[in-house]
């Protein structure tokens, strides 16, 4: 196992302040996630090494454009609005803690988009963020996003987002650590260190949702379905900025 993943599992995945069926469910799902997490760390290390070998700074722009597509204002608002809207007015008191954390995440994701734009601005690739509106590389993702408008609404459930938080945000953390273990560059550090703590918080939200709320088969099913989707070979992977391929 990659040491970065082993460290993550020991420090953040396995320890829990809870016990019971939610934790048991999460640990079963964790076993499904580990091979994909391992593959992501391996890929992120390889991509970082290749970028360094390229002899050009263009990889920083490519990473930033990919990051903007995944975390820029459009994607952020689209994804985050679906997760906020997954809780009906009647259920707001029941899930108010999750709603508050999710509302905060909207702010996080938009700021992350600004970080990717800032790499392009500080690096001289663009003069204004608006230029990215005309750049497909900064606005498109190559694979279906489960939490895009089209896919999320047919499967909407207040806890479905836990799967995305747990699986994908763990990848963000792992990709950041793998990348920074290879690339020592001020702009890349700026892009990744500035959002690292929030990616961890988003992962921990997924963990909390499952530990505290996924206590019955009825509540576990919609989360498990998200893992079913995310573990398909054609499911989304992290952006280049976070160590993935796109």
């Amino acid at each position: 196992m990659q040491p970065i993943l082993k460290d993550f599992l020991e420090k953040w995945v396995y320890p829990s302040g809870f016990s019971g069926p939610g934790v048991d469910f999460r640990l079963r799902q964790t076993e499904r996630c580990i091979p994909a997490w391992e593959a992501l760390v391996t890929l992120a290390l390889k991509n970082a090494a290749q970028d360094l070998k390229s002899g050009s700074n263009e990889y920083k722009a490519a990473r930033a454009r990919g990051g903007y597509a995944a975390e820029g204002p459009f994607m952020s608002m689209k994804q985050m609005s679906t997760q906020i809207l997954s809780v009906t007015i009647d259920e707001q008191p029941k899930y108010i803690d999750l709603q508050r954390i999710r509302a905060r995440q909207i702010w996080d994701e938009v700021k992350h988009g600004q970080l990717h734009a800032d790499v392009l601005l500080r690096g001289g690739w663009i003069k204004r963020e608006e230029e990215l509106m005309d750049d497909a590389r900064a606005n498109t993702q190559p694979r279906l996003s489960y939490f895009g408008m089209t896919a999320m609404f047919p499967h909407i459930h207040p806890l479905a987002r836990a799967g995305q938080h747990y699986y994908t945000e763990a990848m963000a953390c792992l990709g950041i650590w793998a990348t920074l273990s290879i690339i020592d560059d001020p702009l890349v550090r700026h892009q990744l260190r500035s959002q690292e703590a929030e990616e961890m918080m988003h992962f921990m939200e997924g963990k909390y949702q499952m530990d505290a709320y996924a206590l019955t088969p009825e509540n576990q099913k919609p989360i498990e379905e998200v893992f079913d989707f995310l573990l398909k070979p054609w499911a989304p992977v992290p952006s280049r900025a976070l160590g993935g391929s796109h």
Binding site: K111, Q114, K127
Partner: protein, 66 residues
């Protein structure tokens, strides 16, 4: 004249970044709080940002040494 951010007052709303015609306002380097800074060499002192700042005193004009 140029503009700078008084970090003790700034709430990091980012409005100055949105309206700056020079793109001179940036997220601070490696700052987990996502606060902003005005890069002096990019600021032209146009002051377009000032009316948009919601916190009195968070953006301040100063006389540049250059």
């Amino acid at each position: 004249m140029k503009v700078r951010i008084e970090q003790r007052l700034c709430i990091a709303c980012g409005l100055c970044r949105e309206v700056c015609p020079e793109g001179a306002v940036h997220p601070k380097m490696q700052d987990i709080h996502h606060s902003y800074e005005v890069l002096e060499h990019e600021c032209t002192g146009c002051s377009d940002c000032l009316p948009y700042c919601p916190v009195p005193g968070a953006l301040e004009e100063y006389e540049s040494a250059r």
